[in-house]
Point group: C2
Chain length 106, copies 2
Amino acid sequence: MARYLEEPDVADIRFDDVLNAVADDARMRVLVTLADGEFHPCGPEGLLAALHKSTLSHHKKVLREAGLTRTKLEGRNYFVCLRREDLDARFPGFLDAVLAGLAEVY
Amino acid sequence: MARYLEEPDVADIRFDDVLNAVADDARMRVLVTLADGEFHPCGPEGLLAALHKSTLSHHKKVLREAGLTRTKLEGRNYFVCLRREDLDARFPGFLDAVLAGLAEVY
DNA sequence: AGGAAGGTTTGATGTACGTCAAACCATAAG
DNA sequence: CTTATGGTTTGACGTACATCAAACCTTCCT
């Protein structure tokens, strides 16, 4: 029914990858949207707000491969969410601090 | 006696600038070195380990202008330290989480 | 005053990467 | 089966930036 795109195992998430993934304007905005922890659709009503669709696809890939997000595929619809628990387990306090900091900017 | 190079006021530190400053390999290594909170010399025995001197100078500037570090000038010797208290006040938990994450990588 | 030493600044170079467009793939709908 | 739709992939393009070299600026030392 629902497939999950490939993502790194919790233990394999590298902190420098995470930092590099977070340090981009467009991806910061995506993270702010995902802050509630829920799955979000990727269409024009979801994450695809001011981003070109292939650009968004690129950023989704970067975030997912860095271990920040999880992508679910239902039919031909994609949904993305934060890997909250995994990130908290691996880098305690980091995600909360980032989301709090980002909330102030965006 | 000792001058301090210009740095942003605490309230003016922007989170996106901080993230961008942190998201660089060389600067991550500098931060790890500064993790103890003390002032560190910039010479070949200090921060200038595997970096060209002008490259280090550039990174020091980026970190300082982002609000992450403070640079003290004594005579012709420069010393750099983390702005721990300022960062903790502005973005609670962020610095600790970053340093913890970096400690694992480097 | 005249070097020499510690760093900065400027400029040039290469490369990594964010963006867009077009082709492509899979699923859903008729 | 055919077509349309949601999103990915590939490729091209531009720009931002990390790096190095060389010139420069201060301060220290004699």
